[in-house]
């Protein structure tokens, strides 16, 4: 495009009068600059690798924390599903009245299963589990009450809903008191919530660090190419043309850094797998350590690319416009 001389344009302008062809040339130029910036990184392997490794490790920590939270959540959701309410029946209530209570409780929409454990059965279980079998033989009468074990439906297994159900069940006249072993669950949830908040805070700090590292690397690269930028401006390069390779560099840093973070996390999980299997074996659980899924890997890469782009964009906007060809 010539602003001064009518009819004068680059050979390219003459060839491509249609908008589609112009767009095609712009896209080709941008892609060519992308490949070129990758080549530039390849030409300075040590400096590029150092930056990429720092980025990769900076991204590894929040990713690892995310995986930890994900696995803890999986474990704790298993615990929550096992929530059970124990209802202790009054001493004065007859066995027939207790059976009626069990039938009545089974009709509650919030309850999935009801199990009745009579006094004698409870004592037998206690004897076998507690190890005080012989001592209990000296008691004149059975001190244990009858217990009704209630499992809430899935919708009522959260700590709050189970507590509400407990309060409701305690209103039954046959019930002395109820017990929901929920405190540890609440503590676990609180800890989990704290862990999540910590992960978000640490993650944000580390991601900010990634932006700053990329921004600073691009700034140094801009300073290193000051002379080149001046010459480019003198021969008619637009700001977009000058900015694009630096933006590409930020994007490449993001992509490679993200992949390094993914590989590090997967290696860490592979390393921990046998130790976790041993712990799981002790608890007779079928828990399997979970890594990053395909969509999570994609999210990690997109986030890394976005951080790389933002870091380089900030540097490019701040420093390139200040570089002007000052001397002919």
């Amino acid at each position: 495009m010539s602003l001064l001389f009518k009819g004068r344009g680059s050979q390219n302008d003459k060839q491509s009068k249609s908008v589609i062809l112009k767009c095609y040339f712009i896209i080709v130029t941008i892609l060519r600059q992308g490949v070129h910036s990758l080549g530039e990184m390849w030409r300075t392997p040590m400096a590029s690798m150092m930056t990429i490794l720092v980025l990769g490790l900076s991204l590894t920590l929040p990713t690892t924390l995310y995986v930890v939270v994900k696995n803890v959540q999986k474990v704790s959701s298993g615990f929550q599903e096992a929530a059970e309410i124990s209802l202790f029946v009054k001493e004065t209530v007859s066995e027939q009245a207790t059976q009626t209570l069990v039938k009545r409780l089974a009709l509650y929409p919030e309850i999935e299963t009801v199990n009745f454990i009579g006094k004698d059965k409870a004592l037998a279980e206690f004897k076998s589990i507690s190890g005080f079998g012989q001592a209990l033989d000296y008691l004149e009468e059975n001190p244990l009450p009858s217990v009704v074990l209630v499992t809430p439906t899935v919708r009522h297994r959260s700590a709050q809903a189970a507590n509400a159900l407990l309060n409701k069940l305690e209103q039954e006249r046959e019930i002395e008191f109820g017990k929901l072993d929920i405190e540890w669950l609440e503590r676990l949830n609180a800890l989990l919530s704290l862990l999540k908040e910590s992960v978000i805070t640490i993650g944000l700090l580390l991601l900010s660090a990634v932006v700053l590292i990329i921004g600073n690397t691009i700034r140094l690269s801009i300073m290193d190419k000051k002379e080149e930028i001046q010459v480019l401006k003198l021969v008619g390069a637009t700001n977009t043309f000058i900015h694009t390779p630096f933006l590409w560099t930020g994007i490449w840093y993001g992509i490679i850094g993200g992949l390094i973070a993914f590989i590090c996390v997967m290696l860490m999980l592979w390393w921990l797998e046998s130790a976790v299997a041993m712990v799981v074996g002790v608890y007779q659980s079928n828990f399997v350590l979970q890594g990053l899924s395909g969509s999570e890997l994609l999210c990690l890469l997109l986030l890394a690319v976005a951080l790389g782009f933002v870091g380089s964009f900030l540097s490019v906007q701040k420093y390139i416009k200040d570089i002007e060809p000052d001397k002919v």
């Binding site: 004068r8 401006k233 008619g236």
Partner: protein, 230 residues
């Protein structure tokens, strides 16, 4: 082609580089711009290439008032002007081909066409055999010719040269100036800033003389401008 009307330029800090300079360079003309160091030659060229804006007056190229040009349009203006520097300003990371191809890459020229143009430009300056060399392996004269090839590769209608022979011996200087003459014969307007009066005398072209920012001599306006002395 180039028209200066009462152009003044004062830099921040108060240094007055140009004062009420008026002249016109017609299309297809070759002219020298001369004067002592600090006379304002470089500032004048900077105003033409939009590296600086005038503090007062009007600069126009081909009738287009450069004062009215927006910053976003500056790159497109510069594509119409080939600029040659005393210190060549070649990019050391790139070879001769890539340096010369730079203006064409910026314009988005197709690779095949670009190769043709670069080879033609290098052939013109006699460096076709150095196409793959790095600038640092070339002599001063060769580097200057690469700079000239870069300036002419996209056939700009206007060439500006700031002390293009400053670091060269007389023989090489004449060779470079003959190249400018050649481009000029093909219709390119050329303005050469130099303080080599011997060279100017040999070439017999119009010579504008600046002294402390004032145009004190322009053959088209008489040997000495009113109020000034040589």
């Amino acid at each position: 082609m180039i028209k200066f009307e009462q152009v003044s330029k004062t830099y921040p800090g108060g240094h007055r580089a140009l004062e009420k300079v008026s002249f016109e360079l017609t299309k297809g003309e070759l002219a020298f711009l001369t004067g002592h160091s600090g006379a304002g030659k470089s500032t004048l060229l900077k105003l033409i290439s939009l590296m600086e804006r005038p503090s007062a007056g009007r600069v126009a190229i081909n009738g287009v008032d450069l004062n009215q040009i927006k910053n976003s349009q500056v790159p497109y203006i510069r594509r119409d002007i080939g600029i040659i520097f005393q210190n060549h300003r070649l990019l050391e990371r790139y070879n001769v081909f890539d340096n010369v191809a730079l203006p064409l890459v910026i314009e988005g020229t197709h690779h095949k066409h670009m190769t043709k143009r670069v080879h033609a430009a290098l052939d013109k300056v006699g460096l076709l055999d150095k196409v793959k060399c790095q600038p640092s392996t070339l002599s001063g004269g060769e580097q200057q010719r690469v700079g000239i090839a870069r300036a002419i590769v996209n056939s700009p209608p206007l060439l500006l040269a700031d002390e293009p022979t400053g670091n060269l011996d007389p023989e090489l200087s004449m060779e470079i100036l003959k190249l400018f003459e050649d481009f000029n014969r093909h219709g390119t307007s050329v303005m050469i800033a130099t303080h080599d009066l011997g060279l100017i005398a040999r070439m017999k072209y119009r010579s504008l003389t600046l002294d402390h920012g004032r145009l004190i001599q322009d053959p088209l306006l008489g040997s000495s401008l009113p109020g000034d002395t040589l």
